[in-house]
Structures are given as C-alpha cells and as structure tokens.
Symmetry: C2
Subunit: 289 residues, 2 copies
C-alpha cells in the first residue's frame, strides 16, 4: 500500500503515522500512490494521481479540499473523526457555555476595570443551549453539555430553527461549511436569537456574516460572542473583533486532531480500504461533508 | 417554633424561607427565639438569646460566626450544604480547570496583545488535578472533574500532601478555614507545587499567604492563579492581584447558596430539630467546621 502524504503534516504526525502503519510504503512526490493522507494540501497536490483509491483527510472539515478543481474525480474521500478531537471540541464548548452562563467573561472585564461586583447565579437547568450541527462534534458537545445539566437542543438542516433559537440563550455552532450553511448566521439569524443571548462559533468563519454579527453585538441583540474561526485567518490586524469588549477570540484552536489517536483512525481506515471493506466517514461530495 | 433571622438575608431569601416554612413564627429582634437562621450575622446579633436550640447558617463557611465571642455557648450550629451551591462550585472549578488545561486565559491575553498563536493541545487524562478538601464541595468538584477525564486526587488533613502536589499541575482549594488550614498555602506550599502549575482558590482568602503567592507567580513557580476569595474583601483598590496578568479574579462569586433549594434544606433541618431528630451538617466547634 503506497501512501502519499500531502499538506500540513509535520514530523510529529509522520512519526505517529509511521508507528500506526508499520506496513506502509511511503510515496515520494511524483510516485503513483494507492492512497493519499492529506491535511489542507496545496491546490494541485493530488493532480495526476491516477491510481488513487482513497483520499484520507486528517482534517474534519473538507471544504478546502473539495474546492480544489484538480482533485481526482471519483476517488472516495474520508474525513477525520478523531475521538480526541471530538473530546477537545466538547471541552471548548463546555468552557464557553460555563463562562457565558456564569458570567465569567463579565468578571474578567470587571477585573480590568477594578470593579468588585457579583451578579446573580442561575442553575444550569435554567439555561437553554442550542447546538447547530449533529455530526460527531455537535453530538459530543451536546452530550457533554446535557451531562452538566443544561437544557440542550440539537439542530440539523430540515428542522425548524426559529423556535429553537427563541428558546435558547446560547447558540453553539458546529455545522460543516457547505453551500447550504455558508452565511447562515446573518442579520436574520441574529434577529431570531433571543434578545441578549450569546454565540459560540466553533464551526467555520464562513458560517458568519461578520458585519451582521458586529451590528448585533453593538445593538445588544447578541450579548457576547466566543469566536474560534473567522472569514479570514489569521484574523487581520485591526479587525474589530480583536478589541471588541464582548468578543472572546481563539486562534482556530478549539480542537485539533491528536496525531496519536488520529493515526490509529487513519491506519484502521486505510486497512479497511486495502482489505476491500468500506472506509469510515466517507464524504458525500455533493453534500460537501 | 419561633425563628430569628440575622445577617445578610434579603427579601428574596425571606420569601423563599417563608414559603418553605409556612408553620414558622418569625421572631423580631429582641424576642426569645427557638432557632436562629443566620448569614454572616453582625457580631453580637445572637447575644442574650438564652432559649436557642439551634443556629442554622445559610453560609457553608462558619469561621466568621465561630469567631464571635458573644455566640451563645453550647448551642448546636448547622452549616449550609445546599446542593445548588455544590453544583455551582463544581461548575466554577470545572471552568477554571478547563481554562487552565486548554490555555484559554493565555488566549485572552493574546487577544488583548493582538497575537494570533495557537499552542499544543493535551488530553484531559494527561492533566493531574489535586482538590484540597473533601467536604461536600470538594467531593462535588472532584467528581465533576473526574467525569471530564482529569486525573483527580483528593487531599484531606492527615494525608501526605507533597507527593500529590508534585504529581499535579492544577491545585483546587476547597478547604474549610480553620486554625489548622489558615495560611496553609504559603511559600513552602508553592515551592512543593510542580514548577509552572496553577492554583484555583475557591476556599477562603485566609488559606493563602498573598505575598508568597505573588512571589511564586512572579518567579513563574506558579504559572497562573484563579482567585475567588481574598484576605480582605472586597479586594482593596491598588492590590497587585487586580492588574496581575496571570491572575483571574472573581468577586467571591464562585458559588452562592440558592435561596430556593437552601430554604428547603433549612426547613428540613429546623423540622428535624423540632421533632427531636439530629439536624444535618452540625459544626464541630473545636474543629471549626
């Protein structure tokens, strides 16, 4: 099984992949490979690979990969579904929801202002949270939040969204980015949120119309936002999010695949392909995830 | 059953207590009461109450109450053990540990500095946490942290502390404040912590020698501190904690008793006393909690 590596795959990744796949025959650029293991590969990295039987992404989101017009047509693509990444995403969602529910971001602002002032405390079961997206990560985050006592609703396409937004004070976005979800979080969406509620965007920057979010924040319709992803990354210097007092930024760090567990997932999937079984987490190119 | 209310008991508390104890005969100041329900009462508030059979605190920590030399001797004192307060404390501990483990406070600092930079991600089961104190709140916090996958050790007096500190990177203090625990977190304690580890103080300000903590922070021996309680509260203006970049302050807001559930606890305890049964959570005056 000749394996091509392409994209952002550093020495740590290579060490873990080699340990998980002792039988691998590693391809050099230009070799005809049986399978490709890719992480945000440069456009054209797989062009001309005519023998490929499987493309395994190390990233959960494959919208960048699918946007490459040189991607060999017809080859099955598998997304990453790393249990350590799902756990990390659930941790980040839980941290953000705890901080919003208990007002810990507000306390950080008061510390900077030198103000000692406690606010009222509510129980978790008085707080409604809606999780957008019911893939591996949306389900992992929703389960973790429900375990803490929050009133959690999950939303997927085809379900009516407005009643869920109206009944929630925290929205956690974990949708995949597709043509159907791009720009979903726009002025109309923010207007449908309960007044003074909060947004946690752990999906993709392309889900959010950033100018509309800034307007909703400044109007107080959205009280606070925790943003991990942005239309342009790194977020450009001078962007209003950097200094907005009610925006908590992360540098696209909500959850990373862990090379240790993810390499085991890759090995299992490549062996399934080699042995004629169906690999897990295959992408529907039409649907986009 | 004539009940005297003393201390910080506002209209919301009074409404909940009245609803939970419809049989109560509420005493006016100066009346001889059967039981006293107190929340940080003014020194002398219970002086001369000769008929008292029980003092029920609405606070979990009773060190202030016990320090009042006019407290009627021999009267049983019950601490508050409110399930909503334990849950709130576990939430705060979990939020602080998640933020320290995942470096979210560091990301907040980088946002203020305009720096986009992600750091490495570790699994929860790679992070050791020691919880000081194994009362209701220490146990609730420890269980919540273990449920998230952290390697949790619980410490109580009589157990050797140094090996637990050396094996942990986060210390969560939930001890009661007694003569045996006052000043426990001093230079020697911080030196025994693993280099670069973090402190979460949700106990009492009196547990920490603040000058020693500042020195340990500035030496990098303690990487970060989340502090809810202070030697003097409100924390005086100009205190170094207000502006320390690696101190996250809360205004003694980690967990409050919830008048709804706590009033039920009070009602059950007062009825136990009235009916000749032993009230729950009786304080050992000698031990101090």
């Amino acid at each position: 099984m000749k394996i091509l590596l392409a994209g952002e795959i550093d020495a740590g990744w290579r060490r873990n992949l080699a340990a998980a796949l002792p039988e691998a025959d590693w391809a050099y650029r230009g070799d005809a490979a049986d399978v490709a293991v890719v992480a945000n590969p440069a456009r054209g990295a797989l062009a001309g690979q005519r023998r490929l039987g499987l493309i395994q992404s190390l990233w959960a989101g494959v919208e960048g990969l699918l946007a490459d017009p040189t991607l060999p047509p017809g080859v099955p693509i598998a997304r990453m579904a790393d249990p350590a990444m799902s756990a990390a995403m659930a941790e980040t969602a839980l941290w953000a929801v705890l901080a919003l529910h208990r007002g810990f971001f507000a306390y950080a602002r008061r510390q900077r202002e030198g103000v000692w002032q406690a606010h009222a405390q509510r129980r978790a079961d008085e707080v409604g949270v809606v999780v957008l997206g019911q893939g591996e990560m949306g389900r992992a985050a929703g389960a973790r939040l429900a375990q803490q006592g929050y009133r959690v609703a999950g939303w997927r396409r085809g379900v009516e969204l407005a009643p869920l937004l109206a009944a929630s004070e925290i929205v956690v976005n974990l949708l995949p980015l597709t043509e159907a979800t791009r720009g979903l979080l726009d002025a109309r969406f923010f207007a449908a949120m309960a007044p003074g509620s909060a947004l946690v965007n752990l999906g993709r920057g392309g889900h959010v119309v950033e100018a509309d979010l800034l307007a909703a924040l400044d109007a107080g319709q959205v009280r606070e936002a925790v943003l991990d992803v942005f239309a342009q990354e790194p977020l450009p210097a001078g962007h209003a999010f950097w200094r907005h007092p009610r925006v908590q930024m992360l540098p696209h760090a909500a959850a990373a695949t862990d090379p240790r567990s993810a390499s085991q997932v890759v090995a299992a999937n490549l062996r399934a392909w080699r042995d004629g079984r169906e690999p897990a987490y295959l992408v529907d190119r039409g649907r986009g995830y």
